[in-house]
């Protein structure tokens, strides 16, 4: 069984995001004055193949996020796992 994994990574809420601030001020310059907050993050898609249990995929993705995909010192991550037909 193959699985599609969608990982999103963002700076922790308590940490000021310089890219987010720059994009927010860009939107404000375009006239969008009602943007309360904006964060720039990362989106990673990966396919895990030949795995029977979603739980196994989840354990693996959790480990990959901790070790490489995110830096837990400054970033939070979330992921969704979908079964591929």
């Amino acid at each position: 069984m193959d699985w599609l994994v969608k990982v999103t990574i963002q700076l922790k809420e308590s940490i000021l995001d310089p890219q987010g601030q720059a994009v927010k001020s860009g939107l404000e310059a375009l006239g969008y004055k009602n943007i309360a907050d904006l964060q720039v993050g990362k989106y990673i898609e990966l396919t895990v193949s030949d795995e029977d249990k979603e739980q196994e995929v989840s354990t693996q993705v959790e480990e990959m996020c901790q070790r490489l995909l995110a830096n837990p010192v400054i970033e939070d991550y979330n992921y969704e796992i979908e079964e591929l037909a």
Binding site: D17, P18, Q19, K42, V73, I74
Partner: protein, 229 residues
């Protein structure tokens, strides 16, 4: 005396460091490949140079941190070996967990390449033993991710343990928005140092500053006195 400079795919200051330590300071210096395991115990110092290892993909230093030789660098550091990370080398040491904290994109969201003034905050490392606390050094920076961050508890720990080794002179000199104007930190044991400015680009008069050489000179003094004792 013998130095190792680790070359990762995308390192671009390995030759500059090798020139300064090898030619200017006359210390035998070898450039080691990132993908070959090495026994580093014979080297007196291991230097991780600047550059854009693995294209800075994902996060600066994040992928280089898993190069095969990094396992040897970690063992070497844990055994008390001297490790210096410059710019991208600093970022790799943070990703490897050999130094505390992390790098964010510069507050300006721009690549900043200019001369900055930094102050020496600790002379308790092998790299700064010949310098005086409060002394100002002129050195260039060249980076887009040098915005050092550590959580409040971590910052207190750095201060308590005298781990902040360099700061930008003031907010105007701070090129990236780093927390507490931090330009360089060491580990608790003080054998691993990382800094964003490039001492190897400020070690010859023709390049506009020789202040960077003071860091290498401190290191040589430390190693010479260690050899004598």
């Amino acid at each position: 005396m013998k130095f190792a400079v680790i070359s990762f795919p995308g390192s671009n200051c390995d030759q500059d460091v090798c020139h300064v330590t090898g030619e200017v300071l006359q210390v035998a210096t070898e450039i080691l490949r990132h993908d070959v395991r090495q026994d580093l115990t014979d080297y007196d110092t291991v230097i991780l140079p600047g550059g854009f290892s693995y294209g800075d993909y994902l996060r600066s230093g994040a992928i280089a941190r898993f190069s095969p030789i990094m396992e040897d660098v970690i063992n070497y550091a844990e055994a008390g070996g001297l490790v210096l990370g410059i710019c991208n080398g600093f970022q790799i040491l943070l990703e490897a967990g050999l130094l505390p904290g992390a790098m964010k994109v510069n507050d300006s969201v721009k690549f900043v390449c200019r001369q900055v003034a930094i102050t020496v905050e600790s002379s308790e490392t092998a790299f700064t033993g010949g310098l005086t606390r409060g002394e100002t050094l002129q050195m260039p920076v060249a980076h887009q991710e040098g915005n050092y961050y550590i959580d409040p508890a971590g910052l207190e720990q750095l201060k308590a343990d005298d781990q902040i080794v360099f700061r930008y002179l003031n907010q105007e000199e701070n090129p990236n928005g780093s927390l507490a104007d931090i330009a360089g930190v060491c580990n608790q044991e003080k054998n691993v140092l990382g800094l964003m400015p490039h001492p190897e680009r400020a070690s010859e008069k023709i390049l506009g500053s020789e202040d960077g050489k003071k860091i290498f000179a401190s290191l040589l003094d430390y190693l010479s006195s260690r050899e004598e004792s």
